[in-house]
């Protein structure tokens, strides 16, 4: 009996070892091409996973774009994996767990942090050999393509650029007897108009700043920089930068021209504009501010600063994970998909696509704004992003912008104090 038990135990142990080995080996199966193919697709097509932050409605539109791309593809099949909430947390966790999607959308501020940490596939050598239009680096607006590059290498293809433009409520301008914005507008004209358009007793304000639009835009317009072109210094205390900071703080939370902080945090600037409580608001080119029901909205380029009319552009790219098991297919899918998405989103960040016809084709609701958007595209610029961008940005906000807007110090003093801290994060 005892001998029998021993034999039984050793048999079981061996069996269990064998089984564990089996299940361990089994996990490598899905990486083989075609293993997850299913009956409808050809066995040769590789599944390429695409992570995006689209919500339910946008996901349907994106699926339409993907379906068209997939129909033409012979080597791959893109599978959409929308992550509408906690996008970057989830992406980082997937990368850490080595289950990263092959393709992922990344906002410009994540490109350098991810690329510098080896999370993205370098596309520099593949792009020049590719004859497809979406792979032509030169066709992209340079500041937008810059945002997809780091250390001289390209890590993604931008699919959107949203230059900031000025949306204004025509009825409020008429009522206050203020002429509508033109290309001649400067900071001074803007400020004067905002003052005339403010009527606190009616809860009506000329404009609104709230950390948005980004203060960088006004620093650039004055000729300043927050991160130098070589990414080595943060001259936020230069006279030009101070000029931009001071202009910004003269508007934000100043109730002679713009709502107070708590009013903004409760009502939201976009909603206030749509309810006719704000006369002029800065927004991205594709924003829905010009189709608020019952509101006659005009659009204009942003007012000109002391140096130029630079406007901020939020941009995002699609990048390939360095973990992808099928780099070639992922790359092919990336270029085809980028072409598809660029024909869906406003503004496609390519010079050849910055036309009125293209904008109307992608989004007919933007017909009235198309001319202004195209002009703004020529002035647009994205942030310069460094590997430690999240820390840099937090410091820039918490130790310069926030205390400045809360009137806890002058722009000159705060900028001087924060500069070494910002520069320490550039090393």
């Amino acid at each position: 009996m005892k001998r029998g038990t021993k034999l039984f135990a050793s048999l079981l142990l061996t069996a269990s070892l064998g089984l564990t080995a089996c299940s361990g080996g089994g996990s490598s199966t899905p990486t083989q091409p075609g293993a997850g193919g299913g009956p409808s697709t050809a066995a040769a097509k590789v599944k390429i996973r695409l992570a995006t932050w689209v919500g339910a409605d946008e996901a349907k539109e994106l699926q339409g774009v993907i379906d068209k791309v997939n129909a033409k593809a012979t080597t791959y099949e893109i599978v959409s994996e929308p992550i509408p909430a906690d996008y970057y947390t989830k992406i980082q966790t997937m990368i850490a767990g080595t289950t990263a999607p092959d393709l992922m959308w990344l906002g410009a501020e994540y490109m350098a942090p991810y690329a510098s940490k080896g999370a993205l596939l370098d596309l520099t050598d593949r792009l020049p050999k590719d004859s497809r239009a979406a792979a032509k680096v030169d066709d992209y607006f340079k500041p937008v393509m810059d945002a997809a590059q780091w250390n001289g290498k390209t890590y993604g293809l931008p699919w959107i650029a949203q230059p900031v433009i000025l949306y204004y409520n025509k009825a409020l301008f008429k009522a206050a007897g203020v002429p509508e914005p033109t290309d001649d507008w400067t900071w001074q004209t803007f400020q004067d108009a905002a003052k005339k358009l403010t009527d606190k007793s009616k809860g009506q304000y000329g404009t609104t700043f709230n950390g948005w639009p980004p203060v960088q835009m006004f620093i650039w317009q004055a000729g300043g920089e927050v991160i130098s072109p070589d990414l080595k210094s943060s001259p936020v205390d230069s006279p030009e930068a101070i000029k931009g900071l001071e202009f910004y703080s003269s508007i934000i939370y100043n109730e002679a021209v713009s709502p107070a902080r708590n009013v903004i945090s409760e009502q939201g600037t976009g909603d206030m504009f749509k309810k006719g409580k704000i006369a002029m608001i800065f927004g991205g080119a594709a924003d829905d501010l010009d189709r608020a029901p019952g509101l006659d909205v005009g659009v204009a380029r942003v007012p000109k600063g002391p140096k130029d009319r630079t406007t901020f552009a939020w941009t995002a790219s699609t990048a390939i994970s360095a973990q992808t098991k099928n780099p070639q297919q992922a790359y092919d899918a990336l270029v085809d998909l980028t072409e598809g998405v660029q024909n869906w989103k406003v503004l496609a960040p390519r010079k050849s696509m910055a036309t009125k016809e293209q904008i109307i084709k992608s989004d007919p609701r933007k017909e009235k704004a198309a001319d202004v958007i195209i002009k703004a595209a020529a002035d647009m610029r994205a942030f310069r992003v460094v590997p430690r961008h999240p820390e840099w940005d937090t410091t820039f906000f918490e130790q310069l912008q926030d205390p400045l807007y809360s009137k806890k110090g002058t722009a000159a003093d705060l900028a001087k104090a924060v500069r070494p801290k910002l520069e320490a994060l550039l090393k």
């Binding site: 269990s16 970057y88 820390e391």
Partner: protein
């Protein structure tokens, strides 16, 4: 479908492997001449033990290792020794304000919350009509998701929100401007403390209510006959008799308060004035690519909670009366 079958097969294989391991443990223990019950016992707890080791002990130990590394999530961790702790204690301008906020919040919200819970429990212990309805009503808040209540409180604390509207006659009478609550740096802590009362009417009230119901009536009646006032009866009999429950509620309250996360994550405050330690850990780990540093702060938080718990525990002998249970059996 194929992917599903593959996952299912992995799942079944893992289950089979665990089963085989259980049998192996049983066989091994029998072979080592363990008693039958021992062998069966260990074999049966094996699945739980495996889960505990893999999902609890391993991450716990690994996070201890990560606290001594520079880990940006995207690349393998690099050993940096005590650098994270040095940065935390000496260089990080945001760390100590966050510790201060977390501690102050705990010291204010836990005692106030306990008084609130005890008061509510005392009311619900009365023999009133439809007592079941009232008890259910007061338990409802703890059923709601924390994120939803955080948003609710944000609306209530808004400049023109429910609270300011309700008190506007008072403000007018006193000639003061309506407080900006979460939008005012100085009022962020009081706002969170007020908000914490919400948590009072839940599990704590139920625990204290059960405990109140267990106070022997004979003691209270005897005291009443001896002419003790209601307050004396409450302070000298009820409170000592329920002190073990109060102690439990306090320890759990301190731990929960120190880990306050959901509400401050959902409520924006000026200048990060409402960044509790748990939120800070989340920010550092997931938005600043500093997972190593985040785990170091996490371990600091754990040690801080441990120290507070030990202090409360050490002093507990002085004010906790554990004889209630033995008396009841008499």
């Amino acid at each position: 479908m194929a992917a599903y079958l593959l996952t299912l097969s992995h799942w079944l294989l893992t289950g089979a492997a665990v089963l085989v391991l259980m049998l192996a443990v049983y066989g091994l223990l029998k072979a080592l001449k363990a008693r039958q019950v021992t062998a069966v016992g260990y074999a049966l707890v094996l699945p739980w033990l495996l889960g505990f080791l893999i999902w609890q002990i391993y991450p716990f130990a690994y996070s201890f290792y990560l606290a001594f590394t520079d880990y940006n999530v995207l690349q393998p961790p690099q050993w940096v020794g005590l650098a994270n702790f040095k940065h935390m204690f000496f260089d990080d301008p945001r760390f100590w304000p966050s510790v201060r906020l977390t501690l102050l919040y705990s010291f204010l919200s836990v005692p106030l919350g306990m008084i609130g819970a005890l008061g509510t429990a005392s009311l619900l212990a009365q023999e009133v009509r439809a007592v079941g309805f009232w008890r259910t009503l007061y338990y409802v808040p703890s059923v709601l998701p924390a994120a939803a209540t955080a948003l609710l409180w944000r609306f209530m604390f808004a400049g023109t929100g429910l609270i300011n509207t309700f008190f506007s006659p008072v403000y007018k009478l006193l000639h003061i401007a309506p407080p900006a609550w979460f939008s005012d740096e100085k009022l962020v802590l009081p706002s969170f403390v007020i908000m914490s009362f919400w948590g009072v009417f839940g599990a704590n009230t139920v625990i204290l209510l059960a405990s109140l119901k267990n106070v022997p009536k004979e003691l209270l009646e005897a005291a009443e006959m001896d002419g003790a006032s209601p307050w004396t009866r409450f302070a000298r009999i009820t409170v000592p008799m329920i002190s073990p429950s109060l102690f439990y509620v306090m320890i759990m309250g301190i731990i929960a308060a120190m880990q306050n996360f959901t509400a401050p994550l959902f409520i924006n405050t000026p200048g990060g004035a409402g960044t509790f330690l748990s939120v800070y850990i989340y920010q550092q780990g997931f938005t600043q690519f500093k997972m190593g540093y985040a785990t170091a702060v996490g371990w600091f938080l754990m040690v801080m909670i441990l120290i507070l718990t030990v202090i409360v525990w050490k002093f507990s002998a002085a004010y906790i009366y554990y004889e209630g249970e033995t008396r009841k059996g008499d």
